[in-house]
């Protein structure tokens, strides 16, 4: 059995003094290399203070363009783990946002919520660090404002005023018509 035989001695076996020389020399060379590395600039970054940039296509914590969102729930329906929940009230065309939450205990950063969005308003962001002392802190609010903004209030008021004016005009027209009909009678 060949495998049980003693392995042949290597042809270039060193002598006693060769071993001594090799030990001293290789240690000295190694020390030289590590000494060079000792003074080189560290390759690592000081993480919480400095962060390495993430890729453009990195799938981190979501980013929502709230002014574009139309509250269609497409992302919430697409989510395989049901981690997106949202609530808003409609004022005609304007949305009064209550919340748009993502539960990052469930979220698996699959990006499936991004594709169905008709307005292309939900994106995967670059932020990846989630540290919390309580589970509830992993449920993040993606809206930047709740309720109506000043601009929205103005627009809602305008729309309502327009509606009211239209109604009034209609009423006036109806009244005028009635008057006319009355006169005709």
């Amino acid at each position: 059995m060949a495998s049980l035989q003693q392995p042949a001695a290597p042809a270039n076996e060193r002598s006693y003094w060769g071993n001594v020389w090799q030990a001293v020399k290789s240690t000295a060379v190694g020390l030289g290399i590590t000494f060079r590395y000792l003074w080189s600039k560290p390759f690592t970054v000081q993480y919480p203070d400095e962060k390495l940039p993430t890729d453009d296509r990195y799938r981190g914590i979501h980013y929502l363009e709230q002014d574009l969102c139309i509250y269609c729930q497409a992302c919430a329906k697409a989510c395989p783990v049901d981690c997106i929940s949202m609530d808003a009230k409609r004022h005609g065309k304007e949305l009064e946002w209550n919340f748009f939450r993502v539960d990052y205990q469930k979220c698996m950063f699959c990006e499936l919520c991004v594709y169905p969005c008709p307005k292309d308003c939900i994106h995967m962001g670059r932020e990846y660090a989630l540290v919390a002392e309580d589970r509830s802190e992993f449920v993040l609010e993606l809206t930047t404002w709740q309720g109506l903004t000043e601009a929205q209030k103005v627009r809602v008021a305008e729309a309502e005023a327009k509606k009211a004016a239209k109604k009034a005009a209609k009423k006036a027209a109806a009244a005028a018509k009635e008057d006319k009909e009355g006169e005709e009678k």
């Binding site: 030990a23 590590t34 003074w39």
Partner: protein, 372 residues
């Protein structure tokens, strides 16, 4: 009588100061006891600060050799307070003694290990008049006392009732027993050169040539350099430092002999490691690199700055050798136990014997030619 007191060497002011505090009739043993307490306190404080600084330095050296930073956060500047934080953590940790451990051995072991390392500091000459006891047997005393550490390690390994600990302890016993020989032999070269075992005497003899008459620069330099390399290698094995850290080789034996230790007892082993490193470096400094002598230091002799500066020079020189030990640790991988034994018995010991022979001929020839 007062020559027998601690600090009595080389006209040390501390002894006179101590004796002056008491009336003339005070028994000798009271002064001796007091001196011993002061000596112990000084050594204990020195070793604690040294261990804290060395752990920080070791982590920084390890980090930068591996092209990273090491500790950076605790305390602000480059994590300087990391060692203090670690020390406090070790102090407040639970002190666990295993149910199946040999309680007496388990508890005595760390104290014995650290105590032996501390005792050896007694004979170290920190300066021309900063030595606790200028023993005639100086370096022999240091070798003898510091090898008691091995006994503590074996007690720890056996007392832990853990096979990994026992493996570590057995390796320590085998390794230290075999490296004691080259360590002692490699110290023979400077001892023959100085004609004395006293480290303090070695320091005094290296003061010529404007403070540069070190053994490595003397006419015996061709013996000094190889003997220092042999001494340093054997010292690495004695202090269980990589590449000879087989007693605690963490990849195979968990942590070797101190696997089962926690809290303050673990920190004793840790302090012992750094104390032993410093001790070996200090012996190397005193015998090969001129002890406290440094060019220009002699000019200050007599001024108040001289003693503190001499101590600083000695400590800095020793710390440079401690740095070299760390540098070697992060360069050379750990070797196998059979390679350790081969290196000790087949290489270091014969080479030391050859050097001892050459040195004895050389020193005899020098003495014969100069008619000394």
């Amino acid at each position: 009588m007062s020559a027998l007191l601690p600090f009595a060497a080389a006209g040390n002011g501390l002894t006179d100061w101590l004796a002056g505090l008491f009336p003339a009739g005070v028994p000798f043993w009271i002064l001796g006891l007091l001196g011993a307490v002061i000596a112990f306190a000084l050594i204990m404080v020195f070793v604690s600060v040294l261990a804290m600084f060395s752990t920080w330095l070791e982590r920084k050296v390890a980090g930068h050799i591996q092209v990273r930073y090491g500790p950076m956060r605790v305390g602000g500047w480059h994590g300087w307070a990391q060692a203090i934080a670690d020390g406090v953590k070790l102090l407040i940790k639970e002190d666990i003694v295993l149910a199946d451990a040999d309680r007496a051995l388990f508890k005595i072991a760390p104290c014995l290990v650290l105590g032996a390392a501390l005792a050896a500091f007694v004979a170290l000459p920190f300066g021309p008049n900063a030595i606790v006891a200028d023993l005639d047997l100086g370096v022999f005393f240091i070798l003898a006392v510091s090898s008691v550490t091995t006994l503590g390690v074996i007690m720890a390994g056996w007392g832990s009732n853990n096979k990994w600990s026992l493996y570590g302890a057995m390796r320590e016993a085998a390794q230290v027993a075999s490296y004691e020989i080259p360590l002692g032999l490699s110290l023979m070269m400077p001892v023959m050169y100085y004609g004395s075992l006293s480290l303090h005497r070695a320091g005094e003899m290296q003061a010529d040539w404007f403070g540069l008459h070190w053994y490595v620069f003397s006419d015996s330099f061709w013996l000094a350099i190889p003997s220092f390399i042999l001494f340093f290698t054997a010292a690495l094995a004695e202090t269980k430092r990589s590449p000879f850290d087989l007693p605690e080789s963490e990849s195979e034996l968990v942590a070797g002999f101190h696997t089962e230790y926690s809290g303050i007892r673990f920190s004793f082993f840790f302090m012992e490691e750094y104390a032993a490193m410093y001790l070996m470096s200090a012996v190397g400094t005193a015998f090969w690199f001129g002890a406290w002598n440094f060019p220009g230091l002699e000019l200050l002799a007599g001024s108040a700055l001289y003693a503190p500066l001499a101590v600083t020079v000695f400590v800095v020189k020793s710390m440079i050798l401690v740095f070299v030990m760390m540098w070697v640790r992060w360069t050379v991988p750990r070797i196998r136990i059979d390679q350790v034994m081969t290196m000790g018995y087949k290489y270091l010991t014969p080479l030391c014997l050859i050097l001892v022979f050459l040195a004895s001929v050389w020193e005899w020839a020098k003495a014969a030619l100069t008619g000394a």
